[in-house]
């Protein structure tokens, strides 16, 4: 995301436990200031007059401690450090625990064109939520051509050439009770070094699907709210391709991966041919992926059993053949 202003922060439609409960209480003219990084600053040190390494480009969060200190500064009438704090172009300052700044604070902030926000959340809860949200906003992103569905709780990204049957496959999966996140264009965001989130590019156009022969469908209306989801971690990549008789497809469960934004995602290559039931293959792959998460690898366990059996068989043969000789 190129530009993210304080107004965007207030406009974010966050739900339930992600809700930051932010309201603007003063300095509306400062709402157009931009947030440029995902760091948060607690301005305790600057308030006490120490401005070295002050991260003025970060959002300033005033918790209970800072608020008490502000009161003390005011009763002692030492507001020089506060004046200096607002001489920096800080994006915004946020009061936690429903705390209210004093009139003098508001006056200084508004004079510098900085907005003041307030949240009812405690500073620990609030900073955790804010960091998580800023990380998502400033995450590295790519847009790829594919369909993202959730199958048995596993986020499956289906890719492949145009016309190979991605949307039809997803439609069949939804019919079977799985969920659609996005059809056709999937925006991937790298939240951490191991966490890749996929969502639709445009929330207004999400959950629509184009099926050749029918046209554009609204999946949420057709299948109900239970068949859609806003975002989901990408845990499995399924690449559909036309059956190529000269290509060797995986027959014994070797583990392919594909790197997206630097994150290795398990990958399956599934050949498509008339009469092959691709949705059921994807369902099975998702079940298998769940088993792997529980530490059970079907292909490996099978191989282990074969090895064990061969070993015992050869031991037995050895034993019997030895007995014959003696």
């Amino acid at each position: 995301m190129a530009e993210f202003s304080i107004l965007d922060l207030l406009d974010l439609d966050l739900k339930e436990h992600n809700h930051l409960q932010l309201t603007c209480i003063a300095g509306r003219s400062g709402l157009s200031r931009k947030v440029t990084n995902s760091k948060i600053s607690r301005p305790g040190l600057p308030l006490s007059g120490f401005f070295e390494e002050f991260s003025h480009e970060s959002i300033q969060v005033f918790g209970r401690g800072e608020q008490q200190y502000l009161k003390k500064l005011e009763t002692e009438d030492h507001l020089e450090s506060l004046e200096r704090l607002f001489s920096y172009p800080i994006p915004t300052c946020i009061f936690c625990d429903g705390g209210k700044p004093s009139l003098r604070f508001i006056e200084i902030a508004e004079r510098s064109g900085c907005s003041i926000l307030q949240t009812a959340l405690g500073s620990a809860d609030f900073t955790r939520g804010l960091i998580q949200m800023l990380d998502e906003i400033f995450a590295e992103t790519i847009t790829i051509h594919g369909v993202l569905v959730e199958v048995y709780g596993i986020g499956v990204l289906i890719t492949g050439e145009s016309g190979v049957g991605k949307s039809e496959t997803a439609l069949e999966l939804i019919e079977r009770g799985h969920r659609l996140i996005s059809d056709d264009t999937v925006k991937l965001r790298k939240i951490s070094d191991t966490y890749l989130i996929g969502s639709g590019e445009n929330p207004l156009l999400a959950h629509h699907m184009e099926i050749r022969g029918i046209g554009i469908l609204n999946l949420a209306n057709l299948f109900g709210v239970g068949s859609i989801r806003d975002k989901k971690q990408v845990q499995l990549l399924v690449h559909l391709e036309e059956w190529d008789p000269n290509k060797n497809y995986d027959r014994i469960g070797e583990e392919l991966t594909e790197t997206l934004l630097g994150i290795a995602v398990p990958k399956l290559e599934i050949p498509v041919k008339p009469g092959r039931n691709v949705p059921i293959i994807i369902e099975t792959a998702a079940r298998n992926e769940r088993l792997k998460k529980l530490g059970y690898y079907s292909a490996k366990e099978f191989d282990q059993s074969v090895l064990k059996w061969l070993e015992s068989e050869s031991a037995r043969n050895l034993y019997y053949s030895n007995e014959e000789t003696f």
């Binding site: 051509h145 145009s162 016309g163 056709d184 445009n202 699907m209 554009i216």
Partner: protein, 87 residues
């Protein structure tokens, strides 16, 4: 690969019908078509993808074609934009 910058000249922007037209024309060629706007790059053979770009009147897009008939494909798509998608 051939790249061209085009401008949306029809008032309504790229809605469902122009998107379908682009896909129809793109599918007549073996080359791949990509369309880019505001750092978002999508496959030009997908209707939903093109609509998602949100290309309104006067917005500028970068189209690129790649493949055996890339020249013809780029010309044909550019012509669609110049003809305002027959609107």
């Amino acid at each position: 690969m051939i790249e061209r910058e085009v401008e949306v000249l029809n008032r309504a922007g790229i809605h469902a019908r122009p998107a379908a037209l682009i896909v129809k024309v793109a599918n007549q060629f073996a080359s791949n078509l990509y369309m880019e706007k505001d750092k978002m790059k999508i496959n030009g053979k997908s209707i939903m993808g093109i609509i998602t770009l949100g290309a309104a009147y006067k917005s500028r897009l970068m189209i690129s074609t790649e493949g055996p008939d890339e020249q013809e494909a780029a010309d044909a798509i550019e012509q669609l934009f110049l003809n305002r998608f027959e609107e």
